[in-house]
């Protein structure tokens, strides 16, 4: 699915972002923090912004994509308003994280890693988030739900609809 980035609508955000670049451009190894800032501000890495970074920092676009695609936290499609990260660490796995993920996919009608067309929800499979005592665990935005059972999922999602 295509998600279009609106340069006009994001004008103010882009300006703020430019200030960030100006303040940090001389820092060594600045590309990663800049990409993280991009994702923080726009929710994902829009192609238009990456081109802007390339010009501003004088780094070839190919190199930027090389770095951005290497790290799994960077995404090229927008995340949903409610991003659900499903922990797939060892402790969660032995306690049934796979089934939780399956149920989420069923309830939301999207695959793991996807975003619903109305941009309300996205599912992000995540490496161990270190809440192993609560396994299995999901995070919705900044809220943690632990010791989950498959039956709990529907009710939790309802809260965010």
């Amino acid at each position: 699915m295509e998600f279009k980035f609106d340069m006009e609508k994001n004008k103010e955000k882009i300006q703020e972002f430019m200030t960030f670049i100006d303040e940090n451009r001389d820092k060594p190894g600045v590309l990663m923090p800049v990409l993280q800032e991009t994702q923080e501000r726009f929710g994902y890495l829009p192609a238009e912004i990456l081109e802007l970074i390339s010009k501003e920092l004088n780094i070839p676009l190919s190199e930027i994509y090389g770095v951005a695609t290497f790290y799994s936290q960077f995404t090229f499609v927008p995340k949903g308003e409610n991003d659900i990260s499903v922990c797939l660490g060892t402790a969660c796995y032995v306690k049934g994280a796979e089934k939780i993920l399956e149920e989420l996919e069923n309830v939301l009608g999207i695959k793991s890693g996807g975003t619903t067309p109305d941009l309300k929800f996205s599912i992000t499979p995540t490496r161990c988030i270190g809440a192993c005592g609560l396994a299995p665990v999901i995070n919705i935005n900044d809220e943690t739900y632990g010791k989950l059972k498959v039956e709990d999922i529907k009710g939790i999602i309802e809260k965010y609809r």
Binding site: G29, L35, Q73, T90, A91, V94, C128, I129, G130, G133
Partner: protein, 527 residues
């Protein structure tokens, strides 16, 4: 400007306030020697050094940290010791890297100390990626200043004025806590220019990971800080000579650094009196999985696995039988139940085919399939292999395919041998620790649970009853003939008369598990 006098004043002012709060909360006990420990059975057998302040101080308050002698070690080394003396104490303490490899910290520091350069760096490796491990996160969230102080001491010892903390982005609270701690330390003049009014300056910058497990490897982490793809370097130089931006760099793990200040407070002899001769001190483990009380435990090195799981963790959940303990994450192995009396230290774990690793300890019971666990870790490694070395990139993928085949019931004779041959190639021909240890989960399960592999391949049976494709639903003679299962079966493969035992036609069965769910007497089992 901070002075030793001022530090003492803050301590004297804050300590009574802290003690008052702790007394009210009632979770702690203040001992005669002034040390504060957590109460309860879970903590009785623990010796908390790296976690000494966790759950006791308020992590957002630098005063709380100072109240419990925080930053006194930094003051001591700056005023009373030369860098060479600082390194001598570290060597003598024989503190070994808690990130997993166990390299002596003092020797590492000494390498960078001796190497002349205009700029040196200290890196704190907080890219704790092993699934099932969260000791570093807990230290960063519970006692961030101990890590900052440890870094500053390391900086003074080797002659570095800049530090980086590389923390994974999956730990937002740790990032927030660290930011605040760095700010407070700078405000107090405990970081930044002319610390304690001496000519020693040390600054710390936070850098965030972005979800690449391989960045926990030292040189890959440095590449990442430099703003590149996090791929390990060819190890021509020691990073203590040529590391970050080609300058001498010390990279220490969070838990290692948290141990540093207290070693200078209490001395190397005190530290060596804890743990074993070759592995002094304690280790923090994340005790998780099928254990009654999961959580962080810090114990002296040399304690046995049995003591950790049963005496501290209370045994296996649901009182099932313990089958194995997985240590060391994707680089480690599964230790079978009959080796539970192995003492936990670097050498003993290596001897039985696992590793200490960063300290993940996942307890597994009889319902966990060892082939499936090996598959789980290989799946992880395939995803996280950076792709630089062909044996790791391609080999782990082939191993995963074979393991998937086996767990799906399509294993063939020769698969085990193929796995073993791939494992050998990958571990001897990969550049970094990720590849070199990627096959450990397979080799260790092959060593101790070979018959499970054989059962999957020859008998198409999963002894743990975990691999869905190999399961067979079966109705025992506990069946009361209520017909509920037959009525609910979506493919009508259950036959039987009322009040008589029912039978499942396994040829038609789609293994949906409905019969098991609806049976009122629990007569449906998987085998």
């Amino acid at each position: 400007m901070m002075t030793l006098e001022k530090l003492r004043e803050i301590k004297e002012k804050t300590r009574p306030i802290l003690e008052d709060r702790l007394k009210k909360e009632g979770k702690t006990e203040i001992r005669e020697d002034g040390s504060i420990v957590l109460k309860g059975d879970y903590y009785k057998k623990q010796v908390r050094i790296a976690l000494r302040n966790c759950e006791i101080i308020n992590p957002d308050s630098i005063d709380d940290y100072i109240a419990l002698d925080g930053y006194s070690a930094l003051g001591k080394v700056l005023f009373e010791m030369t860098p060479a003396e600082v390194i001598d104490v570290m060597m003598e303490s024989n503190l070994r890297g808690r990130g997993g490899a166990g390299f002596p910290t003092g020797r590492k520091w000494n390498e960078a100390f001796k190497y002349d350069a205009d700029k040196k760096y200290i890196i704190c490796n907080a890219d704790e990626g092993d699934p099932g491990a969260f000791m570093d996160r807990s230290i960063l969230e519970g006692d961030p200043h101990s890590v900052l102080e440890g870094m500053a001491i390391a900086g003074y010892a080797v002659g570095a004025d800049q530090g980086f903390i590389y923390v994974r982005a999956e730990y937002p609270l740790a990032v927030k806590t660290l930011k605040k701690a760095i700010e407070q330390a700078k405000e107090y003049g405990l970081l930044g220019k002319n610390i304690f009014g001496t000519d020693f300056s040390f600054d710390i910058e936070l850098r965030l990971g972005a979800g690449a497990f391989v960045c926990g490897e030292g040189t890959a982490l440095m590449e990442s800080i430099e703003g590149k793809r996090g791929m390990p370097r060819v190890k021509i130089h020691r990073t203590a000579h040529k590391g970050l931006w080609g300058k001498p760099t010390i990279i220490n793990n969070v838990e290692t650094l948290a141990n540093v200040p207290i070693i200078y407070q209490k001395g190397a002899d005190w530290f060596r009196s804890i743990g074993t001769e070759k592995s002094p001190g304690t280790k923090v483990f994340a005790l998780v999985g099928k254990v009654k009380e999961s959580g962080l435990v810090e114990v002296p090195m040399g304690m046995t696995l049995r003591e950790i799981v049963f005496d501290i963790g209370g045994g296996v959940a649901d009182d099932r039988a313990i089958k194995a303990i997985q240590t060391g994450g994707p680089s480690g192995g599964c230790i079978p139940a009959d080796l539970l009396d192995t003492p936990v230290d670097f050498e003993s774990l290596a001897k039985i085919g696992s590793i200490m690793g960063s300290g993940g300890m996942v307890v597994m019971d009889e319902t966990d399939c060892m082939v499936d666990i090996a598959r789980f870790f290989l799946d992880f490694t395939v995803e996280e292999s950076c792709g630089k070395c062909v044996p790791c990139r391609e080999g782990t993928k082939r191993m995963l395919e074979i393991l998937e085949k086996i767990t799906e019931g399509n294993g063939e004779e020769g698969d085990i041998e193929r796995l073993e041959s791939l494992a050998e190639t990958i571990s001897s021909a990969s550049l970094c620790g990720l590849g070199q240890t990627a096959s450990n989960p397979v080799t260790s399960t092959l060593q101790y649970f070979r018959d499970e592999y054989i059962a999957h391949i020859r008998d198409k049976r999963c002894p743990a009853g975990s691999c869905q494709a190999l399961l067979e639903y079966y109705i025992t003679d506990a069946c009361i003939g209520c017909t509920k299962c037959a009525r609910n079966c979506p493919v009508s493969c259950i036959s039987g008369k009322v009040k008589e035992r029912h039978v499942i036609d396994t040829e038609t069965c789609i293994k949906c598990g409905t019969c098991m769910e609806v049976c009122p007497v629990g007569a449906v089992i998987t085998r």
